[in-house]
């Protein structure tokens, strides 16, 4: 089962992702028979079925699903390799892929990146926004803005500092429903919270419990709006849906947003910028990294 053409793995991944030979062929710029032959070759090599064929497409078998993460890693690595390979060496030119949370990416990074690209017109930025922080070691991104200390050895990390959080609501909402003066009163307000439980959210709620014992029990709150998108939460706060958590630096830009229970809530996000150390000497990444560090430091200091 050795000595398989590595390109077959790319075909394999495309079929997994699209669910059909034809769709994979379209994605890859190949034809459906070719893709089918690649899968045949893989199945023959491993000795068992990877997909159950049907007229509606191909359904992956258990072992095929077990192989998928590896194929994804291959795709991420080749993509990273192409980013490194493209563009001149010694010039700030080519593509840099940045991973950050959606709020940071939409509210904080744009002006930083605009200034950077103004200075280096040849620089292209790919911005991947998700809370599931993409892994730098697996080359899913070149540079990441993180809210946890990136302890891995092969990373260059710069500590930015604490981004303070707070409860905020729109002035209109408070005029209509009143402003809570004690944490207990929050239970009678319309609150904006998270939907599913992710690792980050579990950590945050644990911190809220520790820092703010008077806060109503999270399990029993009647949420006005639940969403995992911090951006949607922010939009909801801005339109007066209710009271939610927001970064202080973002909230203070909007004079209509009012901090609720100012003293009671002292939560903040510890922030880091991290990059794989292989990239630290290549101009375009160094320049981008430094711009992010500087821009985020300014953002944190302004709060």
């Amino acid at each position: 089962m050795n000595d398989l053409n590595w390109d077959f793995y790319r075909t394999f991944l495309a079929v997994l992702r699209t669910g059909s030979l034809s769709a994979a062929a379209r994605d890859l710029g190949l034809t459906q028979p070719t893709v089918g032959r690649h899968i045949d070759a893989l199945e023959q090599a491993v000795g068992y079925q990877l997909f159950t064929r049907s007229q509606q497409g191909l359904l992956p078998t258990e072992p095929a699903l077990a192989l998928q993460p590896y194929a994804e890693t291959l795709a991420a690595t080749t993509a990273a390799m192409q980013r490194v390979a493209s563009g001149e060496f010694g010039e700030v030119k080519g593509t840099v892929r940045i991973s950050a949370s959606d709020v940071i990416g939409c509210e904080v990074l744009p002006p930083i990146l605009a200034a950077l690209q103004d200075k280096y017109p040849g620089l292209a930025i790919e911005l991947s926004l998700s809370d599931a922080v993409e892994d730098l070691l697996r080359r899913e991104a070149d540079i990441a803005v993180r809210m946890t200390n990136p302890a891995q050895d092969a990373l260059v990390a710069r500590h930015i500092g604490q981004i303070p959080l707070g409860f905020y609501a729109h002035r209109r909402y408070l005029e209509r429903y009143g402003e809570p003066r004690e944490p207990e009163e929050l239970a009678h307000h319309r609150l904006i919270g998270f939907d599913r439980r992710t690792a980050f959210i579990r950590a945050t709620t644990a911190r809220i419990r520790a820092d703010l014992p008077a806060f109503p029990d999270l399990e029993n709150i009647r949420w006005a709006l639940r969403t995992d998108s911090n951006l949607a939460q922010l939009a909801a706060i801005r339109s007066g849906v209710g009271i939610g958590i927001c970064q202080a630096g973002i909230a203070r830009r909007d004079p209509e947003l009012v901090r609720v229970l100012p003293g009671a809530f002292e939560l903040s996000l510890d922030t880091w910028v991290a990059m794989h150390e292989n990239l630290k000497n290549a101009p375009r990444w160094r320049v981008t990294f430094n711009a992010l560090v500087k821009g985020l430091l300014d953002y944190v200091r302004a709060t």
Copy 2:
């Protein structure tokens, strides 16, 4: 520069590793013209030279070296993928790749692995011994025995406990040169130490400084033997070269080895077994992981 055949990267890596088209062709089971064409295609795709050709072989250019780590990751991932793909699912059969330090791999693991393979004859073990711990996330190994807490999220880790270290010497050596009674006396003995400075060694020496202030300044010691191989240090201790550091569990197996300065030196290695969480449900890795945990726990408890 997109849409390159992934197989070209394998050829690229082979040329980097071997240093010539011909040797790479032999490794890959291809012919030298084919390998040359692959490199040509890559160079055309990226737009610059990756190698300078000569009659002695191919010398990588700067950008080619920058790409090498990515190609290595690809190779490690495809290899891991093949380990996962091979063998039946549900059966304990196929290959598992383990990374450990040389001493653990030579002195502690063999009986554990022998018992495991006795039980599962279809299980093949690849043992990679190095102090530079191979990265589990990059799939350079499936399971690793580590001396640091593997903090990465995607890993399943089991804490084994403390492996005590101590100064040991052969009885013959002590009869001839005397046994030190105070740490200060070590300065007049033949000591076995490390050669280069690795991250692990820096951490260890820092701990020695903290735990054992009476220990002679490491910079000024006249070492009898310096080597980065713990195995060679062990062999040196066993042949009476001098006094060195050794795991207590290993030393006590040999009645000729005597602990020196027993009370004065309380250093130990915190030990973990770690595995990528993708593998935790697949029988052969689960079985191997459990066998390692159990075997190492027994080893630690026996000390």
